[in-house]
């Protein structure tokens, strides 16, 4: 009786694991993103953490090759977008192309919060630090996954050490 219960729970757990979790090797993860959908335009995207360079941790990060010495993780590049692409999905495309790891919370299944790009995390540069994004120079007040892009937008992901005041956000 008891053994059967354990076996059933084990089987259910294995099935849940198989259905809900998607395991990929590093190569598979970066290769899978190549198939393009029909493009509706292109946007410019850049990722930089210049404000992080002033912190104590920056030197060891640069020495280990985690971030480049000028703080520009991804230089301004054009990326094709398809229907329904948001500031977050473009960032995901860009980091996968450049083989940079990012970490984000996607708990509610809709809005995404980006915690870290290239091992530079929120709170690494002080209590008020974290990643922000701007589109055409303005800092939107919605989550990056809810901001849908249109042709010609300029998206900049920047690391702020002071709630955005040091990267040009006025609120």
């Amino acid at each position: 009786m008891k053994t059967r219960h354990i076996a059933m729970i084990g089987a259910a757990a294995a099935a849940a694991l198989y259905l809900c979790v998607n395991f990929e090797t590093t190569e598979e993860h970066y290769a899978a993103k190549e198939n393009e959908k029909n493009t509706v335009g292109s946007v410019y995207l850049s990722v930089d953490c210049k404000t992080f360079l002033n912190t104590d941790k920056a030197k060891s990060y640069i020495d280990k090759g985690v971030i480049p010495s000028d703080g520009e993780i991804i230089k301004k590049t054009a990326y094709n977008i398809s229907e329904g692409d948001s500031a977050f999905t473009v960032l995901k495309t860009a980091v996968d192309k450049n083989r940079i790891i990012i970490d984000y919370d996607n708990v509610s299944g809709k809005s995404v919060y980006v915690k870290g790009i290239s091992s530079v995390y929120e709170y690494d540069g002080g209590d008020l630090s974290g990643w922000m994004y701007s589109v055409n120079g303005e800092f939107p007040t919605v989550a990056s996954s809810d901001y849908y892009l249109s042709d010609g937008d300029v998206v900049a992901w920047v690391y702020s050490c002071n709630l955005g005041k040091d990267v040009g956000d006025t609120f």
Partner: protein, 278 residues
Amino acid sequence: MIGRCILDRCHPLTLLVWYMYVIPITVLVHDPIITAVSLLFGIVHIIMIVGLPKLSTVLYCAAFMTAAAIANPLFSHTGVTVLFFMNGLPVTLESLLYGVEMSAAACAVMLWCVSLTHFMTTDKITMLFGSVTPKLAVLLSLTLRFIPMIREKHRNIINAQKGFDGRSESRRTLKFYLSVYSALTSQLLEDSVEIADSMCSRGIRLKGRTFYSEFKIRRYDGVMMTITLLAMTGIIILKANGAGEFEFYPFITGFDFSVYNDLMYAAFAIVCTMCLYN
């Protein structure tokens, strides 16, 4: 107990100081060498002196530790060495190693707690806190005594109820367990009233009551206490000066055998060896 050990003979105060040194440092200093030293001494101490607990307990512990080590990389994605991707998020070597280190530290603390409950018997606790806070001492010793007593009583009542019930284990109803619970509660209440009465009649509440204790502070207590307290002060000073700063995230800093760190490892290891000293 299968071996002899100085922790068994020494004064309760020495014992308390010793555990208050080893356990917090194992918990608070996240350095793989400190953890390894603590775990190693804990294992040898348990095997040679305290005696192994039941195999099932050891297996449960091992399963829990493995689960804890594996769970960390599933929830923490920090780290630069990517092993594979899970649901689009990286699973990294650094967070796996951090999980292993944390579970090893937890394992070491569990071993020290097994040792603590083995050597810190009720009479020693009563002796330690008796003169300071007699109420707390009585409460502690009563509570500690109650736990094994409850288990014993529970087993007895279940055995008795089985005779009345006559059904197999899988067919027992909630009513059966409720009646066991009710009997257990009333027995325990009765017992505690009896204990309270007997304590009162022995004069637990009298003013100016003195305590008899069979423990004396001997010379080796002084030596042990001095070494432990010196090492404790040393480690606090070294930690304040930046020793034992092993970083896992986002990349492992590597072992640092600077003078400060070496002193800290030595201070910890010397005190740990006392648990094997006869």
